[in-house]
Subunit: 425 residues, 2 copies
């Protein structure tokens, strides 16, 4: 295990400012509409608006919807959006042309691919009845697997492990699918996708990856590692807007094996023939279902367009520098407070966030937010800070840690208003 | 069969203008952003933008997303939108409080309720294995039933009838569900929801209604007729924007009977406890699944707000007057051309559209659109014209028929460009 932790100690804000001046990605920040007086370290939950989004929405509403009206399904390319955006997103995750569609939600897309993957696994070996995942996976993934298993009612089983190290032993000759989230939403722990996919395949199972916290955050090479299916999110690191449609990736080799049960008309080979019998589209199109929310979907492109100006290697380099600096500063400058790092120090195991446990994590986070430092809180005790190299600066990291130190030193988090649990996120 | 066809013959455009002057709903038109130079008779496919939509989108993007950031899930009420909008929509369809959520697509919502309805039907009587519907139903409804049946692989069957009159005989002791679209998308034929629901119940089956072409178009009383489940669309007569999220209605008596298999985290009783085990929300909340597209969903409210200023009885009265006038004028003024009415003349059987067959329907519609009269074409041979009493005027009807007469009289539709089938809608 190689530790590539930053080998310097930062004593002054000027040093952070100097890093920003030398940052080759620094100018990309100008393309985002950043709120005044806020240090935003929650792009892992909801990215900030690209500046282009406001004008794009205005255009979609006034010109495409208002003037083009029904004609815009063709003339403005609305009907083609899921595939066009999928192709624009593909390079960020190592996917090929016509292997990705932007559509629906992660939950619905997981239902589709788990359904398809179970059929494929059972065709190969009917005895495989287990879906392996982690108890710490984002809950909706587990809920969808539970919903599908209950619906099928054929003796399928969801087997959950408590630690990533238990996965290789848990994935065995009974495993149909290993459903793994690449980067853990709470801790930022990142799996080695290549090695784990190999392990899964060696056991004869299929590898389903959830990229919610890694697409646009870390380099991903789905085809390179030979993964089987993937889903992901456009509203976190991809800055597509609140609740913007998710994506689903199916490699060419699996696309035409089965149709999935959410067989709505957008997945039909010839939807406007209005034939009463479903005939799935050739290729990735069959993973579409119903009519998509065009205004929200159109904004996804504004986020993707920023990525065209850089690449995932450059973003990863800065992302690690940001989280390295954050971890180092918290440990140096807040060392006397009961904070413990929940995120791996090893780069190879870290996504683009840093999480710390604190016994009063909820209250501390509310106090931070009140001071304009926006991270978020996740049960139990986790303070979560995300780093989006497209717009996060090194001085933001410095300033955030200074505010954290002050909140902890003054115990301002003990104010009664910060204990209120009205919030739902 | 009572014919309540208009008993006057209109000879001059001024007579239509006089009807507009007397129209108590006439001023509502000012609340829509209508394109210049266009007579829009396709609100049955995509409603026009309420004027409020542009400002609402700008506010959601700049203030809620840009300034509020992640906090807006609480502070701007994003997380509560599906239920809040559902309650705003409920009065239009005779639904009660907390019986409707705006979410996902009709296709996904149908999958949810067909799943729940099959469980309920089989609990009552395991022998019931048939879903009855119409071959002329909108295809996605049939495709979703096919997808579910194939996935369950337990001997369920989709039985399709060719004419509404065959439904009572087809719904029998083997029927689990009758899945009926209230207003047919091609012909505008409207079922008698009360009588048919009674027939379905008398046979011991469950009544699932698709309100895509009737919500906001005709008065509906779901609870009054005792329907079992319903889905519907917000982007047609409700003017929610292209592909805006659909809705699903489940009456209180069925809500907690079962959870549905698309059991994503938004349907969990306590989503932010992040518990690995799915526990469905009490009530309509369990019919939610994944994170919703907030920008598109927010615009649904702009459409609903216009309905608060009137009521479905007033809208229905004008709707029938518009379609009556259109039918009468087409038959009087285009009588020498091969047009035949595909929509029932009887008010009780007509939605808010009028469809005519023409041997060259596709070309005629392209020629109309080129002249600024926007209806749409549906296979085979159907010219479809929708009437949205919120913004359609009687002079629009007069003018549209005059253009149609001219297109037919001059045979301008024979121009080669109108035969091109590049369009997907």
């Amino acid at each position: 295990m190689i530790r590539t932790f930053m080998d310097f100690s930062m004593k002054h804000r000027d040093e952070a400012a100097a890093l920003d001046r030398d940052d080759p990605l620094g100018t990309l920040r100008d393309q985002f509409a950043l709120a005044d007086g806020v240090i935003y370290l929650d792009g892992n939950s909801l990215g900030v608006p690209p500046k282009a989004a406001a004008a794009r929405a205005a255009d979609v509403i006034a010109a495409e919807w208002g003037e083009g009206l029904i004609r815009s399904w063709n003339t403005a390319g609305w009907f083609a959006l899921p595939k066009r955006l999928g192709n624009k997103l593909a390079p960020l995750i190592g996917a090929g042309e016509d292997e990705v569609v932007v559509t629906d939600t992660i939950s619905a897309n997981l239902f589709k691919i788990l359904s398809a993957a179970l059929k494929l696994a059972n065709e190969r070996d009917p005895k495989r009845r287990v879906i392996v995942s982690e108890r710490s996976n984002f809950p909706t993934d587990l809920y969808i697997a539970q919903g599908l298993i209950e619906q099928l009612d054929r003796g399928y089983e969801l087997r959950l492990v408590d630690d990533p190290s238990e996965l290789p032993a848990a994935i065995d000759e009974h495993t149909a699918i290993a459903m793994i989230t690449h980067v853990n939403y709470r801790t930022g722990y990142m799996h080695d996708m290549a090695t784990l996919t190999q392990t899964i395949h060696r056991a004869g199972a299929l590898a389903v990856w959830d990229l919610a916290h890694s697409a646009g955050a870390v380099p991903i090479d789905l085809n390179g590692v030979g993964a089987d299916y993937a889903v992901g999110c456009t509203y976190k690191y991809l800055n597509g807007g609140p609740g913007s449609p998710a994506f689903v990736w199916v490699p060419k080799r699996h696309q035409n094996a089965f149709s999935q049960p959410l067989s709505g008309w957008w997945g039909h080979k010839k939807p406007f023939e209005m034939n009463p019998v479903y005939r799935p589209d050739d290729g990735i199109g069959r993973f579409l279902c119903g009519t998509q929310p065009i205004v929200s979907m159109s904004l996804v492109e504004c986020g993707l367009d920023v990525f065209l100006q850089t690449d995932m290697q450059a973003l990863r380099k800065k992302s690690l520098a940001l989280s390295d600096l954050f971890i180092k500063l918290v440990e140096e400058r807040c060392g006397e407070f009961p904070l413990s790092l929940a995120t791996p120090r090893e780069h190879a195991q870290r996504g683009s966030q840093a999480s710390f446990e604190h016994p009063h994590g909820y209250e501390v986070m509310q106090a931070l937010i009140a001071r304009g430092v926006i991270g978020d809180y996740r049960e139990p005790r986790i303070l979560r800070f995300g780093f989006t190299p497209l717009y996060t600066r090194f001085v933001d990291v410095w300033d955030a840690v200074e505010v954290l130190r002050d909140v902890l030193a003054t115990e301002s988090w003990r104010a009664p208003e910060f204990a209120e649990r009205a919030s739902v996120t």
